[in-house]
C-alpha cells in the first residue's frame, strides 16, 4: 500500500503579535506515527491546524510526498479535539460525509463505511445521533470519519483529552490496532505522556510558547511494539519525557 511522507520545514506562525510556533521542522516517515508532546497552550493545536490546511503558515512550508499540500491531490484526515460531529446526522451519515462531498454516492460507499464502523466498534450504533452517544463513541466516530476518505495523512488533536481514563485505554489500543491495519502516516498530539509513549514511533517534544522542537526521539528502535505500559523501559522513557516537559515550566 502506498504510504505518505510528511515533511515540515521551518514553519512559524503568529497570531497578531503573539508568536506561537517558532521554526518547527520534522519529518514523519511513511506509515509512521509521530507523537507530539508539549505543555498546554504551547501551540500543538495550531500546528495541527496548519497541517490540516485550516490555518496558513507565516513562514516555512509543509510537504506531502515532497509536494505542496493540494486539496485535490491530497487527503487529510483530521480528528479535532472537540470531536465535533454534525448533530443532525447519524453516526453513519457523519462518517459518510467526507465521501459524500467528494461525489461518491452512498451505495458504493456503504460497504466501506460499514466495515470502518465495525473496525471502530460502532456498527450497532450507526443510526444513533451524536447526542445519544458517549464521548468515547464520538471519538471513534470522528476517527472513522477521518479514515473514510482514505487519507494520506491522519491528524489527531488530543482526541482522548476529555474522555475518562478507562475508556481511554481501550481507545489507545484501537488507535494502535488501526495504525497497524491501515498504516496511515499519522501525527498524534497529546499532553498525556503515557499515551504518546504507548502509541508513537517517533516523538517530538515542544517547548513552551513560542513552540520549537525541544527534542526528537525515535522510540521504534528502543521500544518494540506492542508495548507494555508497566515494564521498566516504558516507564523509564516516560520519566524522561515528563522531565523534558517539566523543564519547560521552570
Amino acid at each position: 500500500m502506498f504510504m505518505t511522507e510528511l515533511n515540515v520545514i521551518s514553519i512559524s506562525k503568529s497570531f497578531n503579535n503573539l508568536k506561537v510556533l517558532n521554526n518547527i521542522s520534522f519529518t514523519v516517515k511513511p506509515g509512521r506515527l509521530l507523537g507530539v508532546l508539549g505543555p498546554s497552550g504551547c501551540g500543538k493545536t495550531t500546528l495541527l491546524r496548519i497541517l490540516s490546511g485550516i490555518e496558513k503558515v507565516d513562514t516555512g512550508k509543509v510537504l506531502i510526498n515532497n509536494e505542496a499540500p493540494n486539496t485535490y491531490k491530497h487527503k487529510i484526515g483530521y480528528v479535532p479535539q472537540s470531536l465535533t460531529l454534525y448533530p443532525w446526522k447519524t453516526v453513519e451519515e457523519n462518517v459518510l460525509f467526507g465521501l459524500e462531498v467528494r461525489g461518491i454516492d452512498k451505495k458504493s460507499s456503504r460497504d466501506l463505511v460499514y466495515n470502518l464502523l465495525k473496525t471502530v466498534g460502532l456498527y450497532e450504533f450507526k443510526e444513533y445521533y451524536p447526542h445519544e452517544i458517549s464521548g468515547g463513541m464520538k471519538a471513534r466516530a470522528c476517527l472513522a470519519r477521518a479514515l473514510a476518505i482514505d487519507p494520506d495523512v491522519l491528524l489527531m488533536d488530543e482526541p482522548f483529552a476529555n474522555i475518562d481514563a478507562q475508556t481511554r485505554y481501550y481507545l489507545q489500543l484501537e488507535v494502535l490496532k488501526i495504525h497497524e491495519k491501515y498504516r496511515k502516516t499519522t501525527v498524534f498530539v497529546s499532553h498525556n505522556v503515557e499515551e504518546i509513549v504507548f502509541l508513537a514511533d517517533t516523538v517530538i517534544v515542544l517547548t513552551r510558547r513560542p513552540a520549537a522542537v525541544k527534542r526528537e526521539i525515535d522510540l521504534s528502535t528502543i521500544l518494540p511494539k506492542p508495548r507494555n505500559m508497566f515494564n521498566d523501559s516504558f516507564l523509564n522513557i516516560r520519566k524522561n519525557l515528563v522531565q523534558l516537559i517539566q523543564e519547560e515550566f521552570m
Binding site: S52, I54, S82, T84, Y86, P87, W88, F97, V101, R102
Partner: protein
C-alpha cells in the same frame, strides 16, 4: 403529567369564561362587555358566513406569507453567510423594518391594483422581517468548527453552504417562520380593515352595526385560526428537529 397539565388548562379556560360572564353581568368595567352566551349565539348565527370570510383571509395570508418565505429565506441566508451581501442588504432592511405594517396600508391601497394584492403585500411586509432576521442569525452563527471540519474533508464552498450551513441554521429558520406566521396573521386583520374582504373587514362592519357580540365572535375565530397556524408550524419544527438534544421539552 400531561393529563394534569391539560386539566389545569381546561380549568383555566372555564374560569376565564365564568369571570367574563360575571364581568358582563355586573357591568363593572367602564365598557360594555358582551356576554359569553351572546357571543356563542353570534358564532352560531354567523356559521354560514364564517367559512367564506375565513377563506378570503387565509388566501390573503397564504399569498403574502409564501412571497415572504421565497424572499426572506434566501435573502437572510445569503446575508448571514456572505459579508458582501450583508453589507448590501442589511441597510435597506434596517431602514424599512421600523415602519409598522399598518403604516403601509394607505401606501399599498393606493399603489396596488387590487384589494387582494394590497392585503397580500401587507402580510408579506409583516412576516418578512422575523423570517429574514432569524434566517440571518442562523446562517451567521454557524459554528466555525462545522465549517472547518467540512473543509478538511474536502468540501467545496457550495457544499458547505447547502450541507452544513443550511442544516445548522434550520432551527433558527423554523423559529423565524413560526414568528412570521404569528405576525403575518395579525397583519391579515389590519390589512382587511380598510376594504379587502375577509374576517378583518367583518370586524369593522360589525362595529358599524354596533354588534359587539359579532365583533367578538370574529375576534375569536381569528384567534383560533392564528393559534392553529402557529401550532402547525410548531409541530413541523418538532418533527424536523428531533435531533436536537433536549429540544422537545416544551410544546
Amino acid at each position: 403529567m400531561k393529563f394534569r397539565y391539560n386539566l389545569l388548562s381546561l380549568l383555566s379556560i372555564i374560569i376565564f369564561i365564568l369571570l367574563w360572564e360575571l364581568a358582563s353581568e355586573a357591568q363593572v368595567l367602564p365598557a360594555v362587555l358582551p356576554k359569553p352566551i351572546d357571543v356563542a349565539y353570534s358564532i352560531h348565527r354567523l356559521m354560514d358566513k364564517i367559512p367564506i370570510y375565513t377563506y378570503h383571509s387565509i388566501s390573503h395570508f397564504i399569498a403574502g406569507f409564501t412571497i415572504a418565505l421565497i424572499v426572506a429565506i434566501p435573502a437572510g441566508a445569503l446575508s448571514g453567510w456572505y459579508y458582501s451581501v450583508r453589507a448590501f442588504v442589511k441597510p435597506i432592511v434596517e431602514i424599512i423594518r421600523p415602519i409598522p405594517p399598518i403604516a403601509w396600508i394607505p401606501f399599498v391601497l393606493i399603489s396596488f391594483r387590487s384589494d387582494f394584492e394590497a392585503s397580500a403585500i401587507i402580510i408579506f411586509i409583516g412576516s418578512f422581517f422575523p423570517i429574514f432576521t432569524n434566517t440571518f442569525l442562523g446562517f451567521s452563527n454557524v459554528p466555525l468548527e462545522y465549517v472547518e471540519i467540512a473543509k478538511t474533508l474536502g468540501a467545496g464552498d457550495l457544499d458547505i453552504l447547502i450541507k452544513v450551513a443550511l442544516p445548522s441554521s434550520l432551527p433558527s429558520i423554523l423559529s423565524g417562520i413560526r414568528t412570521g406566521v404569528g405576525v403575518g396573521w395579525m397583519c391579515v386583520v389590519a390589512a382587511e380593515m380598510f376594504g379587502p374582504p375577509g374576517l378583518g373587514l367583518q370586524i369593522m362592519n360589525m362595529r358599524y352595526l354596533h354588534d359587539i357580540s359579532a365583533v367578538t365572535a370574529y375576534m375569536l375565530v381569528i384567534g383560533v385560526i392564528g393559534f392553529t397556524l402557529e401550532r402547525i408550524v410548531r409541530i413541523v419544527e418538532i418533527k424536523t428537529l428531533k435531533w436536537q438534544k433536549g429540544f422537545v421539552r416544551q410544546v
